[in-house]
Assembly symmetry: C2
Homo-oligomer: 220 residues x 2
């Protein structure tokens, strides 16, 4: 996003085209009765591991649309765990856009699913501004990234409906302060749901699955 | 980077304007006899901690240009460690470009320095394509991000002159395989320098400082 008003103007036009397609995606997901979550976090924050653990525990039929700059390693992992999965290789692009999701969702058996996850490209910045047609953005922040990340990358954290603080098993080996991050999140986005979890120890996975069941309207 | 040939064309023009300014930056750095490194890695990979540890150990006069989406926390940290530092708040942009660096370098006493670091915005994807006028790109990959990152985000790793594998103190608490990552890096970019380090334990910092002294032409 370098300067230049010509480029900004084109950027605006691209964004509003994106918003139109996102609205169509949203209508299509809604017609199929699906709750859709857009998972955003840094490379290595644990997005795919969270999806694997979620598929194994949740007991709902999950579809996953996964964006990666390159490779289809992630799709293979969630498919092995039991989800329907479509991989988008963005070929260098640093975020998913609504058009990519519109294409990918055609390959999912939407009517046979309860819940859809979109796993965005690993990036705390660029995916934040693109509506994909989701119901909710989920921010994933892993403990070793550091507790100051919400303050440094606020755009994601003010837009997310829920923040997952992942890899809590590493807290004893870092200087991460759960109080600091919760305090900062509360200032940035009062009332946001914050769930601490670890896919290694299993901590917090039950609370996360309960949250998803309520969101998917599948009872408590 | 959504599709559309009009946008791509504009993108190309922006990039070549960037390359022109980068060439000017490079000439200016060279005239001052400076070696310049562009540090690229995910949010939380430890770029600022590496700079702090480097300033404290290296014994050379260092200038640091730091890009952040928001806040100037990082500049305060390296300044406290003893470097000259200029902070660029990109205001939402996901990478530094050559123009931002051209402005920032005017605020550094270039003739009084031995070495300059540019700490890019925390992002494994977008900064990769922008030449800033550096001599060398340095990729920072931290252990908790996972050992498959070079394969998933190859663009950075094929362009980097050196790869720092940081936070090795966390290896016992993860399933990170140093052999896997070194094997993958060797396939992607044969002969690339790979240095394992930990700012907590101090492992590898001496080898890194020796590398920098050689690069800065300050003897062995």
């Amino acid at each position: 996003m370098p300067g230049g008003s010509r480029r900004e103007e084109i950027g605006q036009r691209v964004l509003s085209a994106n918003d139109r397609i996102a609205a169509e995606n949203r209508a299509r997901f809604k017609a199929a009765g699906l709750y859709v979550l857009n998972l955003i976090g840094s490379p290595g924050s644990g997005k795919t591991s969270i999806l694997e653990a979620t598929v194994r525990r949740l007991g709902l039929r999950m579809g996953v649309i996964q964006g990666d700059v390159q490779t289809s390693l992630d799709a293979a992992r969630v498919r092995a765990a039991g989800a329907e999965s479509v991989q988008i290789e963005t070929g260098g692009a640093c975020h998913l856009d609504a058009r990519m999701v519109a294409r990918a969702m055609r390959e999912l058996p939407l009517e046979a699913l309860d819940l859809v996850f979109i796993e965005n490209v690993g990036n705390l910045v660029c995916p934040t501004g693109y509506d994909l047609g989701e119901d909710e953005k989920v921010a994933v922040l892993s403990v070793p990234e550091g507790d100051e990340k919400p303050v440094k990358y606020p755009a994601l954290f003010v837009r997310a409906g829920v923040v997952l603080i992942n890899k809590t098993d590493l807290v004893p080996h870092t200087n991460f302060s759960m109080e600091r991050v919760k305090g900062d999140l509360d200032k940035l986005h009062a009332g946001v749901t914050v769930l601490a979890m670890s896919c290694r120890s299993g901590e917090g996975l039950q609370a996360w699955c309960d949250y998803l069941r309520r969101r998917a309207g599948a009872g408590n």
